[in-house]
Subunit: 260 residues, 2 copies
Amino acid sequence: MTYCVGMMLDRGLVFMSDSRSNGGMDYVSTFKKLYSWKLSDDRLITILCSGNLGTTQAVINDLDERVNGKNLSGDGLLQCKTMFQVAKIVARSLKETIQEARGPEIDGNSTFDATLILGGQILGERPRLFQIYPEGNFIEASETSPFFQIGETKYGRPILLRGFDRGMSFSHSMKLMLVSFDSTMKTNLTVSPPFHYQLFPCDQIDNAVEGIISEDDPNLKMISEGWGDALKQALDQLPNFVIPGSQSDLFEALRSSHNE
Amino acid sequence: MTYCVGMMLDRGLVFMSDSRSNGGMDYVSTFKKLYSWKLSDDRLITILCSGNLGTTQAVINDLDERVNGKNLSGDGLLQCKTMFQVAKIVARSLKETIQEARGPEIDGNSTFDATLILGGQILGERPRLFQIYPEGNFIEASETSPFFQIGETKYGRPILLRGFDRGMSFSHSMKLMLVSFDSTMKTNLTVSPPFHYQLFPCDQIDNAVEGIISEDDPNLKMISEGWGDALKQALDQLPNFVIPGSQSDLFEALRSSHNE
């Protein structure tokens, strides 16, 4: 399985991915799922991958060739004037790769399916963020849906919904990301560090920061342990649940309702 | 969809269920999913239901008849000497109901499947908690797995893993339950109040408390709103994520790495 998140903040884009790939519980390996191209000083394009590894690697290779000018069909990423045009190329590449792998006759989901998050900026436009589906269509992040998750999305979703704030700092967004990833890896063995991340401040192509968070990274340890304690404190601080009819303690309530 | 949790505490059992049933986005209704029988002063049996409503209602009706002595096959719940024997009857009823509905020839999952949580006590034994699968087999809670979830389990699981403590009070366990249910209903439209709950203190059949938490219940509102604030505070309190190589603020890091 996989867990990847792309966020659109006021100050830029944030990406994070895990790196576990499994073809069964006993066939587990580590693969990078975050790819980024900085092109001709005016564009940065980043992709997060989930799904069939053969499919996503083929798409990444295809995009690499479109960057290097070796692509035979002629649609290069350097010629795109907007991120929407980039999204169309990526989506078509994904759809064609899946169709080729599974053949024309099968409908519905296939084992070759994959889903991508695409983000980046071509100077002149604002940064943009897309989620691209195996069918080759895609949606764009907006003020009301400012982040996308792909892969094993459910465990880490509640904290994103509660904690996300478009105005937050990159440092705060990394805390939120790591809490969401920590919640996911605590409950699903197939999501695991190292985590790859990228922080991309608006209009500053040269200032994008990429990094890797390993299992023993002090940031991750601090946040994972700190989060357990912080959650327990948060629970303690909530007002006690009051059983209807009782004054304070439940056992008092139990006894008095029993005596009535 | 459904969300139900059964917990085994040192001081007893706690059950909670949502009450939404849907046969599609435009066919939503409210059904109780928590059933309990207090029998002959020495046994309390409680069941939480998820899955096909026809199946679970048939199983509950079958168990009702086994309580009332109207069951034709003769296996009554009053004759059971242990909760293990109760679990075997419930599991067989579930398996046979599903098999009858789907016919003998189909393998694998069917739309008639359902999963149950069964808990309770027959005096002389400790309280026990089981999860019963559509195949008719079941597992029992233990010190290492002291709670079961059925239905839409993922959103509410991280907080249970972090917050569960066998020694906690009933009042604290209700806070934990409501936070887990709140996280689930915030992210999944098909899980919704009213929530039914039961608190059952060990060896005190007569002191079991059942209740309903409606959408506008002050406990739920307080916990839902308080939890949002508490999570934000918890995030704020975590140490800032430090980008490797930077001293403090990310943007400083970005600038200095850009200037180097």
